[in-house]
């Protein structure tokens, strides 16, 4: 019973947002409230499905898997599955999706329906990618997310995000072409019978590693993870996109890129990531440094936050590339932190920039006087992006740094990067909250909305709860033990 229920809930995870998108899409154009209610209901339904899976996981129902042949002649199957890592990542996506759904407003009031449909489709695509254990299915869901993001980014006021959306779309497509080639070469190298199943490929290549093929997968994941040198799209996209797109980009797309590194590269090619680990480690470290240093010189608040997110994702990639279970666990936690903190930070920034009608840091000050709770909730998000102790960002950074103990130069550079990231984040928070609040320069309508405060409160609560629990529970944060308990390995 538990197994069947778990499989049903597994299917519901990506399906509910898709059904929700359909339901919202067929709503009458003027039924704004109905559309919004439906959107929220389906998004919260996906969250409910995840909570159900969490409840069942306590009885040992994980990993859960659903598999049946799809195109057997080509070796393509419909294989959905969630192990411990996938389960928590899907939780992150439903949480961020719900936050974006409830906490954001469409860039233009007339776009309410399309705004909701795009959010739901994006959520569906991301959940499907996390739960996919077939390469074709994975890539299908991976590409499905492109269209709703293109629409979300490019349909804000004055069509500001069109250039950024085009850049994101074109860069993704270009990297995906290379990914396709890699997948086809990989399947051919795996031998007969032909299969696209991730578990089966992992078992075949465990005995005989596929040299060099991993490089075909790298561009796609590096691009989505916004790692140097394919990182420039992210700050531009964040600064020019509406709030909903910003929240989903930071909270979903970035972690998904890192999840792809773990889900595909790590599972198929092992801890060395098919020979790409060393290069990816240095790319990740370089991105962390780059993010921190470039954040210091940003005058645009959203670009500044985007650079902080780059810093965290770079460190996550470093952790995933180091190969040891503890470092991989730290990298995955950092991805989750980037998702949670990025979503919270961009939600805050979006609301504040809309109210001020400016994205420049110098134009925003005195928030502590006007909105003490709202501005106070920004601090955990930015502190987590800077990996300050007591936050989930630090819970992920700590094991990665511990694994760098033998690498003198890397440790020094990573520590310096953390210093810069933390300093930039704290400076931003202090700069926005302190000073004089000039009420006549701000929008007179009510901001933030109550639901936005609640969403930010929940996200900040999770950021602090995980961080403080890790610090207080001296036995738990043994990353190697935690990694082992999550079954971090090549096969599910």
């Amino acid at each position: 019973m538990d197994g069947s229920l778990a499989r049903i809930l597994l299917v519901c995870l990506p399906s509910l947002p898709a059904l929700g998108a359909l339901a919202v899409g067929v709503c009458p154009p003027r039924a704004t409230r109905l559309a919004r209610s439906l959107g929220w209901a389906f998004s919260l339904g996906a969250l409910g499905a995840w909570i159900g899976l969490w409840w069942l996981s306590k009885n040992g129902s994980l990993p859960v898997s659903l598999e049946f042949p799809w195109v057997p002649e080509l070796g393509i199957g419909f294989h959905l599955g969630l192990d411990a890592v996938g389960f928590w990542f899907s939780g992150l996506i439903v949480m961020v999706g719900g936050a974006a759904m409830i906490g954001t407003l469409p860039g233009l009031p007339d776009l309410n329906r399309s705004h909701l449909v795009c959010l739901l489709l994006a959520e569906c695509g991301m959940l499907g990618a996390v739960a996919s254990w077939d390469l074709i299915l994975f890539i299908a869901f991976w590409e499905v997310t492109l269209v709703p993001f293109f629409l979300l980014m490019g349909r804000g006021p004055e069509l500001r995000g069109v250039a950024a959306a085009t850049r994101f779309f074109v860069t993704s497509i270009a990297s995906s072409v290379v990914l396709w080639v890699g997948v086809l070469l990989l399947v051919r190298a795996a031998g007969e019978p032909r299969t696209f199943d991730l578990g089966e490929l992992s078992r075949r290549f465990e005995a005989a590693p596929a040299g060099g093929l991993a490089w075909f997968f790298v561009p796609a994941f590096v691009m989505r993870l916004a790692v140097f040198p394919l990182h420039t799209w992210f700050p531009v996209a964040q600064s020019d996109s509406p709030v909903a797109a910003s929240v989903m980009l930071a909270g979903g797309v970035l972690p998904l890129g890192g999840f792809g590194v773990y889900h595909l590269l790590h599972r198929i090619f092992g801890a060395q990531l098919g020979g790409t680990a060393h290069a990816l480690a240095w790319l990740g470290l370089g991105t962390t440094l780059l993010g921190g240093l470039v954040a210091l010189v940003q005058r645009d608040l959203k670009r500044l936050l985007a650079c902080l997110c780059l810093g965290q994702t770079g460190l996550a990639l470093l952790g995933l590339s180091l190969g040891s279970p503890a470092a991989v666990w730290g990298g995955l936690v950092l991805l989750a932190s980037a998702g949670l903190s990025g979503a919270a930070a961009f939600l805050f920034a979006g609301v504040v920039c809309q109210a001020r009608d400016s994205q420049r840091v110098v134009d925003i000050s005195g928030l502590w006087r006007r909105q003490p709770l709202f501005s106070g909730l920004f601090l955990p998000a930015v502190a987590s992006l800077g990996a300050l102790p007591g936050t989930v960002g630090f819970s992920g950074a700590w094991p990665v740094l511990r694994e760098l103990q033998g690498e003198g130069l890397m440790l020094v550079l990573a520590a310096f990067a953390l210093l810069v990231l933390g300093g930039a984040g704290l400076w931003t928070s202090r700069r926005l909250s302190g000073g004089v609040f000039q009420a006549d320069l701000w929008n007179s309508s009510r901001w933030p909305r109550r639901r936005q405060v609640v969403v930010l409160l929940l996200l900040a609560g999770v950021i602090l709860a995980v961080g403080l629990w890790t610090a207080l529970d001296q036995a738990a944060p043994d990353p190697a033990a935690a990694a082992a308990s999550m079954g971090l390995g090549r096969s599910p």
Partner: protein
């Protein structure tokens, strides 16, 4: 319920009570009356004090029931921090009573106390210790900038936050290298973390910026958030420090340099709150000399004595409030303020005050040290400078009648200073003052303080002769240089990092990657779109024609040549 479980509950309450008070103040503070605010904020700081007292009594009377953590040093830090917070909050009930949002100010002070309690009750240097360390830094930074009057918002406290981050990172690196093959690295990093947190030279550039903060915020940030945790950390690692003499040498010379710079800076004409800030730096640096001399008890005593002595001065000589309290607070007579000021100065310097005990112990330890002459000179210099500065601060008190002055919290600190010092001598006898040597030298230091007090008055009365102007300018230059050096420590790396950031952003990002790399496919797509649009509009034919004619003309010219 056993004593042990009570003790464990008391340990939890030392930081949980201020957190709860902080939350309640933040959420409900705007709606509850003034008396409720007072009750909530004072009880939030009094509870940790009571719990600390209970734990101390338990440790004294029934050591078997007392939990292993917090130990004696931790209890010292806990009691000191709670007492300082209590006094500051009491003062704040009056000094910021007219400000809207004062409940959030109280909440931040509670948060600072909670972070301190969390830090001091950690049994070992672990992740939770690091959380407390960073928590102190964060709450101190935000407290320092609360209501700070400045042209551009949010700058006060930023340097403090940045230096706090540096000290936190040094502590993190020391935890990472603790199990490594080179234990001296870990100890060095711990020492560096403590010194940066304390704000010794050259990390002292934040001291003058505290002049823009409220006096109660400046008090807590300068004592509770900087010197007390630094001394606490050094006490924890004293054994490790003694294994590496070179580190003790560094500690000695940096502390001496701090003493020198801060005394010179304190002698300059400036706002009283800044003078008190510099004196706090002198007192704290003297405490660090206790570790260098191998007497941690002297260090703890000096830190506590200096904190209590100067906390009172922060409250008496703090930045005058632009808006004074509500009308129902009666204006106090000015003589009361001056009396408390005089009493606190006398009480602080003479036996049996805690400050005297600390100086005497340090002098006794220095007498047996090969570098003791330097330490002795530093103690006497600080005492002289302290005496002179206290005289100037006393004379800088408001002169007019009718000023709204509230001297009682400052008196509380002085009384506490006296009582703890007296308790020490009663419980531990002569050894508390460093024996006969310490008493003798300590009394000499008191005379030095007296000389400073008298000479400060004489100098003020004499017209400064032209030949002294050069010396004063030299001293100002020294102070400015020290201050400039402190600022450079922050500004130089930040400036270099920003320059590198610009290079990476513009050259690498905009030009190389966006221009040549990812920009190329994007521009290809856009160009293709443009061509297709032109074809559709019919413009392409004209353009093609012109291009074709131009190409032909060039070809003809080339063949002709």
């Amino acid at each position: 319920m056993t004593l042990s479980s009570l003790a464990n509950a008391a340990v939890l309450l030392t930081w949980a009570a201020p957190v709860a008070a902080s939350l309640l103040l933040s959420l409900l503070g705007g709606r509850i009356p003034r008396r409720g605010l007072t009750l909530l904020s004072l009880s939030g700081s009094a509870l940790p004090l009571l719990c600390g007292g209970f734990l101390l009594g338990l440790r004294w009377l029934d050591p078997g029931s007392a939990p292993p953590a917090p130990d004696g040093t931790a209890l010292w830090a806990l009691l000191l921090s709670s007492f300082l917070a209590l006094g500051a909050l009491w003062q704040a009930q009056r000094s910021v009573a007219a400000f809207s949002g004062r409940h959030r100010f109280y909440a931040l002070m509670m948060l600072l106390l909670a972070a301190a309690g969390f830090l001091f009750t950690r049994a070992a240097l672990d992740l939770a210790f690091l959380v407390g360390w960073e928590g102190l830094s964060l709450s101190g930074g935000f407290l320092a900038g609360f209501w700070a009057i400045e042209e551009r918002g949010g700058r006060t406290g930023v340097h403090w936050l940045l230096l706090g981050r540096v000290s936190g990172l040094l502590l993190l690196l020391s935890l990472l290298t603790a199990a490594g093959p080179h234990p001296e690295w870990s100890t060095s990093l711990l020492l560096a973390a403590a010194l940066v947190r304390a704000g010794v030279v050259p990390f002292h550039g934040t001291v003058p910026e505290l002049g823009r903060s409220r006096s109660t915020a400046a008090l807590l940030v300068q004592t509770l958030a900087s010197w007390v945790p630094a001394v606490f950390l050094l006490d924890r690692v004293q054994d490790s420090l003694e294994r590496f003499p070179v580190l003790l040498d560094w500690l000695l010379w940096l502390s001496l340099a701090s003493v020198a710079f801060s005394l010179v800076a304190a002698m300059q004409p400036q706002a009283p709150q800044k003078i008190v800030g510099w004196l706090t730096m002198s007192a704290g640096s003297l405490a660090l000399l206790g570790f260098a001399a191998g007497d941690p008890v002297a260090a703890l005593t000096l830190c506590a004595g200096g904190a209590l002595l100067l906390a009172g001065r922060f409250l008496l000589n703090g930045r005058p409030e632009a808006e004074t309290g509500p009308d129902e607070i009666a204006a106090g007579p000015i003589f009361r303020l001056r009396a408390v000021s005089l009493a606190s100065a006398v009480v602080a310097m003479a036996p049996p005050a805690l400050w005297f005990a600390g100086c005497a112990r340090l002098l006794a330890a220095a007498a047996g040290d090969e570098r003791g002459a330097w330490i002795t000179a530093a103690v006497f210099a600080v005492q002289f400078g302290m005496g002179a500065a206290l005289r100037r601060l006393h004379e800088a008190l408001p002169a007019e009648e009718g000023a709204r002055c509230w001297p009682w919290p400052a008196l509380l600190f002085s009384v506490g200073h006296l009582i703890v010092g007296a308790a020490g001598i009663l419980l531990f006898g002569e050894a508390f003052w460093g024996g006969a040597t310490g008493i003798r030298l300590g009394l000499g230091a008191v005379l030095a303080a007296g000389a400073g007090w008298l000479l400060a008055g004489s100098f003020a009365r004499l017209k400064v002769a032209p030949r002294f102007i050069g010396a004063r300018r030299l001293m100002e230059l020294l102070a400015d240089t020290g201050l400039g050096l402190g600022r450079l420590v922050i500004l130089l790396p930040v400036g270099l990092a920003k320059a590198l950031g610009v290079v990476l952003w513009r050259l690498l990002g905009d030009i190389l990657i966006d221009g040549l790399g990812t920009g190329l496919p994007v521009r290809t797509v856009e160009g293709t779109g443009l061509v297709l649009r032109h074809l559709h509009d019919g413009r392409i034919r004209r353009t093609l024609l012109i291009a074709a004619w131009t190409a032909l003309a060039l070809l003809w010219a080339w063949t002709r040549s």
